[in-house]
Amino acid sequence: MSLLEVRDLRVSFAGENGKIPILRGVNLKVNKGEVLGLAGESGCGKSLTALSILKLLPEKAYFDGGEILFEDENLLEMDANQLMKIRGRKIAMIFQEPGASLDPLFTIGNQIGEAIEKKLNDPCSVWLPRSSKLKVMSEVERLLGLVKMPKPKKVLHQYPHQLSGGMAQRAMIAMALAGNPSLLIADEPTTSLDVTTGSKIIALLKELRESFKMSILFISHNLALLSQISKRIGIMYLGRIVEEGPTDEILNQPCHPYTRLLLLCLPDPERRDRPLSSIPGSVPEPAALGAGCAFASRCPKKIEICRIKEPEMKKVGENHLVACHNL
């Protein structure tokens, strides 16, 4: 059963010479208890997709069509009050740079506490009686314990700059858990961390997914990393998902030419003699995209129709979809 379904989502930026389409019809589905990986190079719209789901678009961007169904309700039609009940409660998010997403002026206890207060009370109220303040702090401590924060009692009174990158990310995860969300959006949560710290965070997320029965939308540019946490991945290119399917199948039998080239770019210590292939050309400007497949200008397998018509998603296997004319 699907928890989140994004249908033909379009987001554009208002540019000087008219609109610039950034998301050009994103379709994705996150089922209950599932981890969906979303991969792609920078600028392909991974993060924007994540932000759209929480309706946190940057200033110049606007929704240009589509639906975001969460538990069968369209988030795009909700007003601010309804959204407050979903953001941080049913859908939580963690970001790439944990240091930058924590407020440097408040202690960790205060910041996570804020998330809990919002949950305990009416989402719009700010003040709490003192007795519940203490309750909140003990709850924060419990959350820090859940994310395996070393010395949670001490961290409660520390400021973000006193934490290491891994600890800060744990604090972020604790904050996300405060609302007991059913969907966690993780946008490159380990990219700024060391490999050893990163792999611990991944292990933690896996564990929490089990115990909280959460679904995770895991965004990363690192395919190897995605293969460790998600059973299903989507590959994005220029604002569309071009291939989607079971991780093993995509990594071993990629069907879309872009996915194939992307995988060949990865350095492999076991094949040192092979020069790395690179994708010819460069990513076209979104404003200059015409009709036809966005990858056509760089595609080694393009045929005539690629320049004229944008390909639809086609089924190539069970649950394996590809948007390419030449299969």
């Binding site: 190079e41 920078s42 990158g165 060391d194 490999v195 050893t196 710290t197 990163g198 792999s199 991944i202 540019h221 690192n222 395919l223 190897a224 990393l225 293969s227 460790q228 093993d248 990594l251 071993n252 039998q253 990629p254 030419p257 194939r260 080239l261 992307l262 995988l263 060949l264 770019c265 990865l266 350095p267 492999d268 210590p269 094949r271 040192r272 020069p275 790395l276 292939s277 690179s278 994708i279 010819p280 460069s282 080694p300 397998k301």
Partner: protein, 278 residues
């Protein structure tokens, strides 16, 4: 490959003292051993990888080798001379041969200088190609795969990968023998990083360069380097040929490090891709 040693490092040390946690307290001053008694050799024509987690002293070590920061102790021999104790004039002469490419292509190029100025700056400093600097710049840009017509542009007009090419052109301007690549591809996308790695390897073969390749990305290092040094808390814990190290790491820290790299399980071989360079 020649086995001649090009750089020899002996007992290199750099300690930093850190302010105590409480601002006005005098107790609890801590010493951080960024580089702690490190010795190794780099052989001519090889690509030596340096891996470790952030804060282990990789970058400090790279900077010490070029005397961009003063070491506390130790010697770095280059062409049989102790580079660190050379008088200023000779040091400058020697620096022609030793160059560095930095991590962030957005921060390491002066936004107010044109590409021609950026790439020719080392030539001016070292009095090379006098009055023919522009020709040299043209040649260098061609070498790194940028159009010569772009030499009067500013850095912001280039993408990350192109900027890294400019960085490489600048590093190669003086015809160096030894180049330190400090996380040279870490901030780039995989497909761009592949292009830059191919370029670096091509240039290395063409000019028989020697690289010290500093990176935290173990799969890049495993693919790109001939030998790999593993650093932990300022110390080098293991130096080994890449294949050997990756198959069979002996130090426990190396093993922990390697077990945390995410790997793609490959069941089927990938077909040969299009657009391969070289």
């Amino acid at each position: 490959m020649a086995k001649e040693t090009i750089v020899k490092v002996e007992n290199l040390k750099k300690y930093y003292s850190v302010r105590p946690q409480e601002i006005f307290s005098k107790v609890g001053q801590e010493i951080i051993k960024a580089v702690d008694d490190v010795s190794f050799e780099i052989r001519k024509g090889e690509i030596l990888g340096l891996v470790g987690e952030s804060g282990c002293g990789k970058t400090t070590l790279g900077k010490l080798l070029l005397k961009l920061i003063e070491p506390d102790e130790g010697r770095v021999y280059y062409q049989e001379k102790n580079f660190l104790s050379l008088p200023a004039k000779k040091l400058r002469r020697m620096r022609r041969e030793l160059q560095i490419i930095f991590q962030d292509p957005y921060k390491s190029l002066n936004p107010r200088m044109r590409i021609a100025e950026i790439v020719s700056e080392p030539l001016i400093v070292h009095h090379l190609w006098k009055n023919k600097e522009r020709e040299r710049v043209k040649e260098l840009l061609k070498l790194v795969g940028l159009p010569a017509g772009s030499m009067d542009n500013f850095p912001h007009q280039f993408s990350g990968g192109e900027r890294q090419r400019i960085n490489i052109a600048r590093a190669l301007a003086t015809n160096p023998e030894f180049v330190i690549c400090d996380e040279a591809v870490s901030s780039l996308d995989v497909s761009i990083s592949a292009q830059i790695l191919n370029l670096l390897r091509e240039l290395q073969r063409k000019f028989s360069l020697t690289y010290l390749f500093i990176s935290h990305d173990l799969s890049v290092v495993g693919y790109f380097c001939d030998r790999v040094m593993v650093m932990e808390k300022g110390k080098i814990v293991e130096v080994e040929k890449t294949e050997k190290l990756y198959q069979n790491p002996s130090h426990s820290y190396t093993r922990t490090l390697f077990s945390s790299i995410p790997k793609i399980k490959k069941n089927l071989p990938l077909e040969k891709g299009h657009g391969q360079e070289n």
